[in-house]
């Protein structure tokens, strides 16, 4: 519950610390994992975030896609804007696209896919192809 609080006030380091402890007790909890991914991206652990993201969307992509940002006080709409404007620093372009791909999925599946496609141009990670394949049906739904 403390993790939820730190997440709510956007203190991602403290939130990560608490959420990891909560996940140790309840490893299958998707709601914790969903927040953990955002925290990991914001503390610079983008690759670790992507590993978690990949596992989660393979299990249940809708837990992220069905996020209602306003209702859930989700920080992603604010974060993606800041990342796109380079107001939040990223290590390199690949990490930027990975972050955007993950965080956009909480708000807009189309944008998410576009960013994962950009990431795919910079790396040969097969998981990206699989991610795009999972998300694309939802972009068609949106259209």
């Amino acid at each position: 519950m403390l993790g939820n609080y730190h997440f709510m006030i956007r203190d991602y380091y403290s939130a990560l610390n608490e959420l990891e402890q909560a996940l140790d007790k309840d490893p299958e909890n998707k709601l914790i994992r969903k927040k953990l991914i955002i925290c990991l991206t914001q503390v610079g652990k983008v690759r670790e975030a992507f590993n978690q993201f990949y596992l989660l969307i393979n299990e249940d992509v809708e837990i992220i896609i069905n996020t209602r940002p306003d209702w859930e006080d989700c920080p992603c709409p604010h974060l993606v804007k800041k990342i796109e404007k380079d107001e939040i620093p990223t290590e390199n372009m690949l990490e930027k696209y990975l972050q955007l791909g993950m965080l956009w999925l909480y708000c807009d599946a189309n944008e998410s896919v576009e960013n994962f496609k950009n990431a795919l141009k910079l790396t040969a990670d097969d998981r990206l192809l699989h991610v795009i394949k999972i998300i694309e049906p939802y972009t068609k739904l949106n259209n």
């Binding site: 519950m1 609080y5 730190h6 006030i9 203190d11 620093p89």
Partner: protein, 432 residues
Amino acid sequence: MLKRNEEILDFLAEGIFTVDKNFIVNYFNKAAERITGFTPDEVKGRKCKQIFQSDLCMDKCPIAEALSMGKNLFDLKSKIRKKDGTLVNVKLNVGILRDENQNPIGGVITFRDLCYLVNNECENFDHFYGIVGNSRVMTNIFNLIQEIAYTDTSVLITGETGTGKEMIANAIQATSRRKNEKYIKVNCAVLPPSLLASELFGHSKGAFTDAIKDRIGRFELADGGTIFLDEIAEMPIQMQAQLLRVIQEGTFERLGESITRKVDVRIIAATNVDIKEAINAGRFREDLYYRLNVIPIEVPPLRERKEDIPFLINHFLKKYNLIYKKEIKKIEKDALEVLMAYQWPGNIRELENVIEYAVIRTKSEESLTLCSLPEFIFEGMTTCIKKQNQNISPARLLQLLEENRWNKSKVARLLGINRTTLWRWMKESNLI
């Protein structure tokens, strides 16, 4: 049974709401509805911070504090936002709800409206976002605060201790475009210099011995909102350079980290020291002073706005009546005159303490009397009081004697006369 419990809770005068472990409101009683103006349907399913926007939400959430400390908390003072946008002063208690395995599953907050009586009875005098003041100098400050409501420029508030600089800062924030954004307060004098940098700018794990994990700083926490830097002159000179950079460029680095971060924070600073003197002494950077001092506000000491004292007394009387469950309606003329004559080195804070002391001590049910005031108020005033009390009526003298159980030494001291004079006055009044 659940319905019956809700009926019982609806009967209570205290506002009650509960949240789940995601801080989403799931219960809201009738008193909470009456105090805040929100209906249960409007708040259930929403996060509590989105609704109440308390000054504690972003910094010291009472539920998070109770969780961290592992105990329930009582009598916390806060302000919550009502449906109409106005703020209400509340005193609240917090408890953690746990499941059968003692895992936290939510929290319960009960709260009372501290301002109900004060607000309803203070309509006859002016106050501005909780600041009491009818004097010209205070009215000018209130006007200035309204004029700068649409700017994001830095403000430097100066004034002696106890003059209400923090309340001025609160009013600036509450009237600004950023009123619904985060508002973080930092007292630069409270933390040692080594911790202040970490507190303001954050640190990375391993930056110093006790940095066991990464920590976000107050500037990052206040991003998009306002930060109030109290006692700014106490900030170490080397950190002033970092602050200057935040003001000029909005950038900084956490301790032990090389990543440059960018924030958009409006700065309100305050000090009770002569900052020009601090500049001359090399304790404060001149360039920082000019950056902060874009809009200077000098809060006058109470002795320079004595016309506000009756209004302040009235305000504090109502506040402490409420707290101590008394019904004192006024202050006796002679007691008021003593308070008007006093120089108030501790300013409004000192006046508030004196009124609280007097409310507790007074035996009269109707009014605050001379005898209920603390003795230090009379120091150096003997001549003045003596003059004022030359024409004391026999009835007033009798009242004073009875209030002090005929302790003549004490009454003589209160009146600023010696025992012989008191004895003569008593004789002239046929009291002996």
